[in-house]
Symmetry: C2
Subunit: 452 residues, 2 copies
Amino acid sequence: MTSGTTRYFADHAWLGPLGEGDGLARDVLIEVTGDRFTAVRPDAVRPPDAVQLAGLTLPGLANAHSHAFHRALRGRTHRGGGTFWTWREDMYALAERLTPDSYLALARATYAEMALAGISCVGEFHYLHHAPGGHRYADPNAMTDALVTAAAEAGIRITLLDTCYLTGGPDRPLAGPQLRFGDGDADSWAARAAAYRTPDHARLGAAIHSVRAVPADQLGTVADWAREREAPLHVHLSEQRAENEACLAAHGCTPTELLDRRGALGPRTTAVHATHLTEADIARLGSSRTSVCLTPTTERDLADGIGPAPELARAGSPLTLGSDSNAVIDLLEEARALELDERLRSETRGHWAAADLLAAATAAGHASLGWPDAGRIAPGALADLTTLSLDSVRLAGWQPRTLLESAVFAAASADVSDVVVGGRIIVAEGRHRLLGDVAGELHRAITGPART
Amino acid sequence: MTSGTTRYFADHAWLGPLGEGDGLARDVLIEVTGDRFTAVRPDAVRPPDAVQLAGLTLPGLANAHSHAFHRALRGRTHRGGGTFWTWREDMYALAERLTPDSYLALARATYAEMALAGISCVGEFHYLHHAPGGHRYADPNAMTDALVTAAAEAGIRITLLDTCYLTGGPDRPLAGPQLRFGDGDADSWAARAAAYRTPDHARLGAAIHSVRAVPADQLGTVADWAREREAPLHVHLSEQRAENEACLAAHGCTPTELLDRRGALGPRTTAVHATHLTEADIARLGSSRTSVCLTPTTERDLADGIGPAPELARAGSPLTLGSDSNAVIDLLEEARALELDERLRSETRGHWAAADLLAAATAAGHASLGWPDAGRIAPGALADLTTLSLDSVRLAGWQPRTLLESAVFAAASADVSDVVVGGRIIVAEGRHRLLGDVAGELHRAITGPART
């Protein structure tokens, strides 16, 4: 995106899962030409013209699962304690109101909040395709375009996971607010999705909303679409026990087995949640090298339960992380929650090293979104950097040898000071350089101009 | 602490669990004389001389369970993933090094971090009484005094829970670093504890470290000491399953039953954790009105499991919250974690309203620490205020009718802008007025002056 060469000098840097040892290095000179790293030299002397990155610099974070519009529900779904059903009512009421213009504004501010949190790429699991009642916009991809434009204006990359969402359950047609999600059948979905041309900061992927939302005999259409394009394929999987029960009743097998039979698993597929699995499900996901995206803060919020993440990793599934409902936007919190919730499930500590959790938040996430050349600080990789200031009370007492542990177990989005995406400085000293007052933009997008 | 009358004007205030309806009020004029509220008027007109409190003002938060020195371990106990045992080794190694002077510095900075997080009173569960090897200091309460002084210098109140810690387990004497904890027997503990005279900002309570650490026939001595003084009595209870098994083997009953038999339960008692309980345990705790202190972020960290908090509340136990190991200092995160971890346990949402969770973080906590006159904004109560700014990206999109939900489910310590403790402004615009650079103080206290 930029031309010429820019030099950065990082006091401490984690070079990513491909670095030596734990990947931590000091006094790292980082050269960027265009949107790529061209040189990375630890133990360097700081040149006078280098941009100083004080603190700990990480590769840009990958948010592998987002529903941008859910951001407007943050802090609003708990009245009277809140149930899953009051949450879904609120979410549908919100979905009814959005237009391409208002969604652009909401998503831009939400993605800007992600940029401030050190996220350089988002996987947007997008199903709000059509106008109320299911009517097509003049441009049938107007909502897709709003999201892709929002990411550009917020300064981050996006993988638009165009989601096939056809039914409200086995033999249950879409109704009410759900009509906006539907393309009629998978062929129509495929034709609409294929018509979209992505700009450089975006890639197009496919998604099956869930086995509830795509009839079994049409799952293959979506899987084939992704396979032909070598594009990512994402799918919500077994988030709630009820999904498994309905699938068993309708198809005589688990959702994982159904997806496997229809050719939807594999190294370009990501199963999101994967909470309630059988041992055979775990083996299928692992042996097919299907990635599993955990969204721990959302899984807490929606009372999903705690999935078998260590078993999935041991079986061969790369793990990734997502902010999902955007009730929280903090990939470091998702990373520690993966470990901490497993501690609650197993009553034992020590499932992942900090570097493993950071790998889920970086390289594994980017790869699952179709950007295998992002998520590490190395020559040739996309030049994404996220710097954590070490100056807050949260991180006071950090020591060089345990810096990764501090980042994962003590830091927060609020500690992100600088963010570079594809060679471009998007956040500097905690401020978004393109949009400025992100909180104000968010507040207006959510509450409307009259209330600001 | 101050004389004359000061007036505050809060845009939004939650008056506490004794307020009307959900307790939320607007345009609240708050008058403070000395260390007490003297008038509280919602829907008021702002007088020109009032101190403006923009955002949402809460009563001061109560941190009902802290081990201040554990703060130095934050982010350092996860190497190789970390186990409970590497954590305990690290904790003991740290405990070996502290002196009254160095503990004063560490605790002052830790309590100042608490002040910045909106905490106006801490319950310090203190067992690091003596010099290495168990030798008495010239003043046998030198460590107690260091902690009480630390709280004064950090501007918060403290309940010093002087902890009786006599054995390493049934029939196992203290050894190594544990020797610093021991008073020999409960009578010697009682005599030492009784000799301490508290200044105005402090109260003295008792603690039984656990049924592992105090022989059954000496539990009554500690319980009687607290009863005679009408002082709080706290006890770690059933945090790990191994404690229950050892207690059953040694005494033929659960830890809860043992405490009950020895007269240690009741409305001035707080059981900390209470994770692994029988139905009979829950009934004993509830019917005796024993408070239960949950420390969710520590319970995650130490892989304790998720306790039966809703059942305890229904049985009659007031719930309180603590930062415990201080790996996180954020009472709002503890409050939401109480609800969210229960969602993971039960796979259902909606166990507590936001006001219930805030009551645990305020009035119930203060009462459990022996300050029943704190934790609500009402005439006659201790004048503690914690104001959350609503300006961050975390809270953008807040609405007046769901402000309590936003505070509990979306805010963080970093959103605390102003804190008043006993009528004295301790934090203004996010800055500690007594100590200034709290992060620097913390960093020096933990890493030593040579490394700053």
